[in-house]
């Protein structure tokens, strides 16, 4: 399980709830295994097809943006607290403006701000009665 955690697996796990009649460890493990298989299959397919196909793929990387947007929508719906989203967007945007987009180096200070900010907000966020289904991957 430890080694199976990829970006995509994390993204999926953060967005789904296991069905009630399925053991959650099996559920997570299956997702991780399938993701790895897709990964390997996709790499092979891509290597083979890449040599053959010549369509213009410019802009196909938007799929990742779209995936994150979809997850954000799902999380927004499943959690009553939206403060972390505002914090994440504002903190990252501030770091992007401050440090520039080069090499994605603004991500590290952004992450520090997010974790720090969340820790500061802990008394506020935990005060309300714990509503379940808080989009977390815990």
């Amino acid at each position: 399980m430890i080694f199976s955690l990829t970006d995509e697996t994390y993204a999926l796990l953060a967005g789904v709830e296991p069905p009630p009649d399925v053991d959650e460890k099996d559920f997570y493990f299956t997702i991780a295994v399938l993701d790895h298989l897709y990964w390997i299959a996709g790499s092979i397919l891509g290597a083979v097809a890449g040599a053959l196909i010549t369509i213009n793929t410019e802009g196909i990387d938007f799929a990742m943006t779209a995936l994150f947007l979809v997850i954000a929508v799902e999380q927004w719906r499943s959690s009553p607290r939206h403060v972390p989203v505002y914090l994440g967007a504002a903190g990252t945007l501030a770091c992007l403006l401050l440090f520039g987009p080069k090499n994605g180096r603004f991500l590290i200070p952004a992450l520090v701000i997010l974790v720090g900010g969340l820790l500061l907000l802990r008394p506020v966020l935990e005060r309300e009665p714990q509503e379940e289904k808080g989009g977390g991957a815990s």
Binding site: N56, F68, Q75, A89, T92, L96
Partner: protein, 108 residues
């Protein structure tokens, strides 16, 4: 780059990859409940991180010309609208990506 340099790079990456995955277990042990702070972060960090990743995806946005921001904005709104409307991951992602590719390649 020499072969030795490549080997050194791979070694460093392997160690770091392993460390990032082993660290939580070294810190918190295998069984039992993780500390409350970790559970708290586990609950509220994911939405913040996804917001961060979205900003990261849009880091190349430029306002010098419409082609610098319009395709991403339009396709992004389309993804969100599609997903709110149909709640279908595949449709939202594939639809938004195709729209983006058309916008980038043909319109802007």
């Amino acid at each position: 780059m020499t072969n030795a340099q490549i080997a050194a790079l791979v070694a460093v990456m392997a160690v770091v990859t392993f460390l990032t995955r082993a660290l939580p277990f070294l810190l918190f042990g295998r069984g039992g409940e993780p500390p409350k702070v970790v559970l708290y972060l586990g609950r509220f960090l994911p939405p913040a991180v996804i917001a961060m990743l979205i900003v990261y995806c849009y880091r190349g946005t430029s306002f010098a010309a419409p082609s610098g921001w319009a395709p991403g904005l339009i396709a992004g709104l389309a993804v969100v609208a599609l997903h709110v409307w149909k709640k279908n991951n595949m449709l939202s992602i594939v639809g938004g990506t195709i729209l983006y590719m058309v916008l980038v390649q043909a319109l802007f």
